[in-house]
Subunit: 346 residues, 2 copies
DNA sequence: ACGTTGTGCGCAAACGGTTGCGCACAATGC
DNA sequence: GCATTGTGCGCAACCGTTTGCGCACAACGT
């Protein structure tokens, strides 16, 4: 409870000025050797530790970066934040944490909180609802750079890291094709999501690439709820010609879809095979794991986002900031095949 | 890039002193109505927002609390942090995030980082390795209160929130007994873990309570790795008399155990039924969900921990802090039964 | 002996606010 | 008419640290 030792304390005890103490501690050349030693000695004895709050305040820096994600419970985001943290530690930064729960309103509040705390930078994965960016533009006034990851905005004047799901989907279709599947269905996410648009484009181009006909009856969407997915599955299972394979939007949809299929007496991964996105570790324990999945490298996305942010901050310090440079890092997704599917339907 | 408006700015423009501006903005009674209005008007026009860093610095507060957990990827902890966050928002606090990855060394570094940032308080769930508390004791010097949750220390002079797993285990045994099971095995976690000790005590007392004989052959331990769990299962499946039910340390062990059992031609949840701890949402998608699970209320533990921390901080502000009061909140676990098991072996 | 250069250190401002105290003036009471 | 009380505002210190500048003194060259 007694006051922490300050530079002033040391100054008084040693009968020197605070500036001398400050310089002695930072090894300034103009300070005599003897004085330096006495200061450093006493500092050690007193267990002096500089008040970083005061320093940061003076430097107008906090050494804190904000991270806002939709849901920490989603494995994808907890991996991403781990990647961010690991990069942050290397640069001696710490992380201020906030969730948007996919709600714009919460996102705005979280951004405001970060602004209040004067974070040095912000890394964010946008909420599903985010359709305007005033709250994020506002950070420019405070000179707080923003790096987006995974759920990135459409505007080009922003720094971002993401996984190219267009290519990923093409790869997934290709893998199915190469394993002999032709009648490939797709349960996509909500239309307005960038992630959905990319996947759809990839699906269409992937199908076309192999000289197959794109049949929009094979494409359903889900709002990502269990019910939405079941409705989509119902339609697919009611088609005259049952699909041979189903691509799902992500592993959560996958799990709902396969569960529904199983309930409806489909031999999952035999009768119809399922492939997905996300590569959740947990799927290996599920009753019906996807036979292939597109890994989106959340950890690496997080690391990259932090690296970019650090570059921006360093440049800013060096007054070399060119406000017209925008960093974009596009990661290649990778297809993870869990098993070769038993050939079927050929 | 141009400077943010400060109180000084406003003072100069209005030709009043900074103190007047400061008071006008905080509605001090001694400031004339006219002046107040002019100040507030100009502040609005300029988009003035107080520099919280400066205020916090002066007040020696940060309005930030640190949270350190072992793994954010574990659903339990991501739920807990969500609970902490929700309570934090209510009190206008933000969260500085850190993981220990169950390593003491990392925990120490994370604590040091929090200390550096001068968090107002710390909420922590200890790493498995943590056997000494110097790094946490050190926070006392900085007057940073610590609240532990779930993985709490043994010492009594600490604030803590946890779920009584002793009672939970007794309940689990009782549920099995009531459903007709007698030959109940138990795969526990590492002996040194408090969580393991509690469960073991609960198991023994639960068994005894129903006039059954405690047979230590039915108790195995795992280091929580897949291999460790498989070894434990192997021993249990090799007993002359196969257990009728198996209690596992948590849902992760459960999944490894049931997977192993299935591979060895055990009809999981028929031949032997499985119950567990943790109540992961994901288990409902798994091939072999536990028939009952002990919910440990991570979200509520997080909320509670934050509430306690807030009480401590409030009292400290009011100078009413009695350093000898230690808050302990013991949550009752709840048993969640997924299905009534088909009666068996009677 | 005098200017030059180097060495060791202190003064004071600055970062952006808050706050105790005091001062000047007006209104009030008696 | 004089003391009292209230009103409106400014001065200056303070939080803990950094840093430009200047001062005093010594060592040096010539």
């Amino acid at each position: 409870m007694d006051k922490l030792p300050t530079i002033k304390e040391i100054a008084i005890r040693l009968n020197v000025s605070v500036s001398t103490v400050s310089r002695a501690l930072s090894n300034h050349p103009r300070i005599g050797l003897g004085t330096k030693e006495r200061v450093q000695q006493l500092a050690k004895e007193l267990g002096y530790e500089p008040n970083t709050q005061a320093i940061f305040f003076k430097q107008k820096k906090t050494h804190v970066i904000g991270v806002i994600i939709p849901y920490i419970r989603e494995d994808f985001f907890s991996q991403a934040i781990s990647g961010i943290e690991s990069a942050a530690i290397e640069h001696e930064y710490t992380i201020l944490f906030g969730q948007s729960y996919d709600e714009l309103e919460r996102e705005i509040k979280a951004v405001a909180a970060m602004k209040k705390q004067r974070v040095d930078g912000l890394i964010i994965s946008l909420s599903k609802e985010t359709n305007k960016y005033n709250h994020l533009e506002a950070l420019k006034k405070y000179d707080i750079p923003v790096v987006y990851f995974d759920r990135v905005p459409t505007m080009t004047d922003s720094h971002k890291v993401f996984c190219n799901l267009y290519k990923g989907t093409i790869e997934l279709v290709g893998w199915l094709f190469n394993n002999g599947y032709r009648n490939i269905a797709f349960i996509n996410g909500p239309d307005k999501l960038r992630a959905s648009k990319e996947r759809l484009k990839g699906y269409i181009d992937g199908i076309s690439k192999h000289q197959l006909k794109v049949d929009m009856q094979l494409v359903e969407t889900t709002d990502l709820s269990k019910e939405g997915t079941e409705m989509a599955m119902k339609k697919l299972l009611n088609l005259k010609k049952l699909p041979q394979a189903i691509i799902t939007f992500n592993d959560y949809v996958h799990m709902d879809a396969t569960q529904y299929a199983a309930k409806n007496n489909i031999a999952v991964n035999k009768h119809i095979i399922f492939v997905s996105f996300a590569n959740l570790p947990i799927t290996s324990y599920t009753a019906f794991p996807p036979l292939a999945s597109i890994e989106q490298h959340p950890y690496r996305q997080g690391e990259k986002a932090m690296d970019i942010l650090m570059t921006i901050l360093k440049n800013k310090d060096a007054q070399e900031s060119d406000p017209d440079i925008y960093y974009t890092e596009e990661l290649a997704p990778s297809l993870v095949a869990y098993k070769q599917p038993a050939m079927h339907g050929l």
